[in-house]
Subunit: 327 residues, 2 copies
Amino acid sequence: MATIRDVAKHAGVSVATVSRMINGTGYVHEDTRRNIETAIKELQYTPNEVARSLYKKKSKLTGLLLPDITNPFFPELARGVEDEMQENDYRIIFGNSDEDRDKEQDYIQTFVQNNVVGVIASTNSPDTDTYRKLAIPVVFLDRTADDSPSVYSDGREGGRIAAREMIARGSRRVTVMQGPKHVRPAQDRFKGAVEMLKEQGIDYNVVQTSSFSFTDAGTWAEQLFRQYPDTDGVIASNDIVAAAVLHEALKLGKKVPEEVQIIGYDDVPLSGILNPALTTIRQPAYDMGRAAARLLIAFIENKPIEQSTLQMPVTFTERDTTRKAEQ
Amino acid sequence: MATIRDVAKHAGVSVATVSRMINGTGYVHEDTRRNIETAIKELQYTPNEVARSLYKKKSKLTGLLLPDITNPFFPELARGVEDEMQENDYRIIFGNSDEDRDKEQDYIQTFVQNNVVGVIASTNSPDTDTYRKLAIPVVFLDRTADDSPSVYSDGREGGRIAAREMIARGSRRVTVMQGPKHVRPAQDRFKGAVEMLKEQGIDYNVVQTSSFSFTDAGTWAEQLFRQYPDTDGVIASNDIVAAAVLHEALKLGKKVPEEVQIIGYDDVPLSGILNPALTTIRQPAYDMGRAAARLLIAFIENKPIEQSTLQMPVTFTERDTTRKAEQ
């Protein structure tokens, strides 16, 4: 591969001149410029981004930290981030934190060591030194933090909608599945649902869960119907758990939605192809990813920012695990 | 943030000495070493990885190129790669190619500009200059290439197994869904299935598909039963398509597996929670990701390599969209 030295030699100029031109850090005469351009073309020279980042004190790398890409909510989010970054010529160093503080800190540190110009993080600990001490812009995604730039959806409202629609469709012995305690958006939606159930004076039980994994979901679904066999409505902590509850209900010979209604959360792509198709609360994951990347880029490029905290709307997505609403 | 200069000044030594110690490139007296360590601690200095990569002529970044992270097969693959990389202190720059040659080339080029030390790619064009001209190790994942390091599973055998099990369970008017023509693993499994159907003299039809997207899958499922209403067995191009076929079959009032049997491909996490649960051909996606990363790291670190081409086994995963095999 050609180096900057080869280009300089070929164009009959100094390395410093080639560097000045590539990095736009000083005047280069038009004739010289043309010679260098020809040399770059003929030698198929690609400027070394690492060398450039040292000159310019910045690179085009950003860091993206998500809890777990195998939870089907996050690929949509990641894809939104990546599409926006790619179109704007940024690249992403990607890591899964598993919601583990040490792993998270380790990733953020190596992001910085690799000279990223900004970070997007879905973290449960935004208000820690890990982020507060960073000298580069950070946008929190799917999470909120006091006064920090963030893109998230309205979890509490999502929970309220799920409970309201469940009640409007006739369920009176509702079970709410509470997501992992340390995951804030999961707690927001749980609080919203419980709030609405209390407001409307509806009987409810709670089943506590500690992850969003596919394998665990089946266990909780079994537990739910063992503990509360006469429940007639389940508000699940996300679509994976809802799918497992649906699977278990049908296995037990329960009719869905006639005997048990089920409402999920997220609207991941699989929800629409379940049998029956899953009624759920939709979060615009892809758009949230796009918005977070757009916001981060604006910070990096010092562009005007209208709003640094974006709350995206959640919507009730009615399919076949709920009955028609009573008039 | 503290720089190497601050550390040198604080320790009363030259920048070159600090650099020698940090990079392990030369002798540093024990007393001096202690002074530098104290300075690093007191100033909370983090060695700049970019600067180090220039000294050492390598960084710890690798590139990972996948077709589309929103296809549920790939998060498992990506997670396997990431876990292995993370444990070995490598980081990943990640991109989606959308199987688009230009986007692919653009990503590979920016990987190189960012000084990655190796690349893992799921590409349909391994035998092109994009990869042949790279001066760093490349491992192809979920794809094969003549004589190039790669980790993949046996697609042809997978297709053969699907057809054999379908026939053994009594289907006689089989429809094979052919995956996107430019995606090699999809064609391998298609060829395998057709081969077996011909060997056993079983009637079959083909439905051509051009993507693995959730939205398109429904359209092909509808088309399938419109064109071949009396088909009694569907070999799908992957689990997403199989899920859509299952959804459509039930919508049309067909009994699965009594009237129509369905076999998917991949065994993505959702397959087990469909209703009925999906019978499929399992690829060990997570393990394939791990193996590819392990292989790439061995190349980067010049470790002995027993086998640079790893074909992983596929297995028949029997669930409830197929009947019991006839004796």
